[in-house]
Amino acid sequence: MFSKALFKQSMKANWVKWTCVTVATCVMLAIVIIALGSLAIDNIRDSLKGVFQQADQESVLKSNSVDSYELYLTTAQFENGVEMINDSGFTELMWSIVIQPNYNDALNEYQTTNPGAELTEKALEEIKNNAVNSAYDTIISILPSVMPDADFTESELKQLLYIMMCAHEDNNSLSSAADIITAIENSYLQYVQDSAYEMYLQQEDATEETATASSLAARALASYAMESYKTQSAQEGFVYTEDTFKEEANSYVNQMIYDQVLATFNLGDDATDEEKTEAEYYAVASKVISNTAINTYELWLDEYDDTEKYPDMTEEQAKISAKEQASASLMDQIDEEVAAALKELGDMDMYGLIIGNLFYRVAGILLPMVYVIMVANGLLAGQVDSGSMAYVLSTPTKRRTVTVTQMTYLMLSLLAMFLLVTVTSVVSIWIVGGNEFTINFVEILLLNLGAFLTMFAFAGFCFMCSSIFNRSKYSMSIGGGISILMLVCTILGLFGSDVVPAAMRIGQMNFFNYLSIISLFDATSILSGGMDFLWKFGILALIGIVTFIVGVFWFEKKDLPL
């Protein structure tokens, strides 16, 4: 079944080709790996990734700025109301004739309709709301006579009354005007905190911790606004206007952002100048971004004020929309598809693409394929065509011995070739250093195995053609032609496959992948840790084995023109 003499003869006839192809492939692979490793192609990817992270951070920063700004303004508006209650006489009057009686009435009414019921949170809420409604009716009838220049909307007034009810609920035995004012302020701060908590909890990805932290921040902000208002209003000639407060709110939020960013750098006493400059740079940049966001927000609010242009827009909707516009990042400004493509480019595995898909599936198997086409043809068809097979078959050598020996030579020479390629790849990766490289040793071994199995399948196919045809030209054009065609299809198919970034991908070209058995070498599955490649490897091996067997039997049955 095996002839040592014939094996030696095949080795002598083909060793030059084998050496050339092996050396060329190994050198090519070493250059690719070392070049990729030292040029650090991942830098590009990392910087792209950085851009996207920065864009996300920018968006968050802008949105936070707008939120803080809104909170600050709300507080200021409340303070406008507090001016009214700062008048001690009026406050006392309000407290005794509006808040206290209405709250008590509502409480009594609730207790008579629900006798013996426990005062739950929900019950208290109902009581307060009822009290606010009746108090509102009272106050609206007396307000023009007591405070002719008061300027409140219904919701503003009701909000104020609600807060006063809360204050009363907590401290119903207050009598001095100063105590009442303090209690109202405390209730207000609590109210800001609660509504901020509710608001943040509704945001995406929010946890209770982040919502709590944000609501505490809101309370601090409101408290600051209150102090600031009091200080300013104590000054002579102070007039509350919306614009002054907007300016105040903007600069306050900017400063807050600046302080926060600076704090994240955690600069100790031993910080170098360079570190300080860097922290300062980021803090100032953040401050500018915050300012931009708030100004944009205001501009959009003005825009939405135009009732002719936006007839159906409520104030709430306008605020949400303006905030969205203001917090848009770089990513939101460019086209969605382009953004997706860029993001994919940032996430792409360049080593996997170039080594896994480009080298092992195309460039690296091109020369071995040429070797297989030439040698497989030369082992049978070439010798039958020239007639030199007659010298072998006129000795007591069975045809099966000839085919099995030649097949063994072809397989072993391929195996030896890929063993050297494997060694080259492992050594090259070792030289480059495993850490930088995203392909690990197991993966590179699997890639080599895949390339070998692919070539094994082609070798079987070319060997079968070499066995079937008596003429080199037919064996070459069918065996070699189809093999090269498949390689070309794989190159074309690459542009339609997922490994190529969407920006360069042409979906229809994926069709070519179905025409090539190289698609059964699933480098993507190997590199992404999947298991799909295993059964595909099995099919490749099967193709090789079956075609080899067909080749062996065909050669035994056919007529030889020798």
């Binding site: 010798q383 010298y391 006129s394 000795t395 049955k557 007529d559 030889l560 023109p561 020798l562």
Partner: protein, 307 residues
């Protein structure tokens, strides 16, 4: 007649390649120690027959037996006894003649190269020459050495003398005669009648895939029937001679020439008759295989026209 051992027996062998090409219903037997020749034009089926005997192609009908074994099924076993020179000379992809001989010896499991070396000397071959740069004659010599070196009992030679210069051809034919004397059975095809005539015991003429005739050279050579060519000086005498009852095999009126066939014991009668004629010359026409086959072919073609 003594019982002769059959070495190659071809029975009803047919291999039809279409368009009248191929071989059709061949029957012949080659006996031990016999040298058998194949002659025929290009494409007449000589090589196809030899390929069948070598087991390279499978007969469509009929069988080929070598030493009692089927040439197709027992192809490998038969090769232990058979040496072959292919019609087309193409060597394996090796560098020199020496490496080729070594590779062949390994395939033949041949250890002793003495005979090979003596053959190389006889044929004045330089075995260290590069196989690819060899002249046609050199290649042919190399092929001869490769075939003969294992000293097998049966030699199958497909046009072995093509490319050899006349001197080398003589050497080769001598070599064949020596092999024959050693008792080997030889099947040799050629397009040259003279070399087959010189070496073969029997020669088969193949034409259009059919064996037209198998000539027994020895019988023909040693036959007591001879042919004489006679030219007369006088046309009248020539016509008169023709009326006599001699067997005329060729008649050339233009030159007043006749060729007659006559048994040895009637030669005196012929000379008595010829005493009264004025001759330009008389010569014995030597037996010639080529002429022999041409006559047969001509008859065949004539017969074909009549039917």
């Amino acid at each position: 007649m003594e019982e002769k051992e059959e070495v190659i027996k071809v029975t009803n062998l047919t291999k039809d390649y279409g368009n009248g090409r191929g071989i059709f219903d061949l029957n012949f037997t080659i006996y031990k120690g016999e040298t058998f020749g194949f002659v025929g034009t290009n494409g007449s089926g000589k090589t196809t027959t030899i390929r069948n005997i070598m087991g390279f192609i499978k007969p469509q009908q009929g069988t080929v037996q070598v030493l009692g074994m089927d040439a197709w099924k027992d192809s490998c076993e038969i090769k232990k006894y058979v040496a072959y020179i292919p019609g087309e000379i193409a060597f394996p992809d090796l560098t020199t003649g020496i490496s080729f001989f070594k590779a062949q010896a390994e395939l033949l499991k041949l250890k002793n190269m003495d005979y090979a070396n003596s053959l190389i000397k006889r044929l004045q071959l330089d075995p260290s020459a590069n196989l690819k740069r060899m002249s046609k004659g050199m290649k042919q010599k190399t092929a001869i050495v490769a075939a003969l070196m294992a000293d097998k009992d049966i030699l199958i030679l497909d046009e072995p003398t093509t490319g050899l210069d006349p001197l080398m051809r003589e050497t080769f034919l001598e070599l064949i005669k020596e092999e024959k004397e050693k008792g080997k059975t030889i099947l040799m095809s050629s397009q040259m009648f003279d070399e087959l005539e010189a070496t073969c015991d029997r020669v088969a003429l193949i034409f259009d895939g059919k064996i037209i005739d198998i000539a027994d050279i020895n019988a023909l050579k040693n036959s007591d029937i001879r042919a004489y060519k006679i030219e007369f000086l006088d046309k009248e005498e020539y016509k008169k001679f023709k009326r006599l009852k001699f067997k005329i095999i060729r008649d050339q009126e233009k030159y007043s020439q006749v060729t007659i066939q006559i048994e040895d014991n009637k030669i005196n009668h012929l000379f008595k008759v010829l005493k009264n004629y004025h001759l330009k010359f008389i010569s014995e026409v030597k037996f010639n295989l080529e002429k022999h086959f041409k006559e047969i072919l001509a008859e065949r073609l004539k017969g074909g026209e009549n039917v």
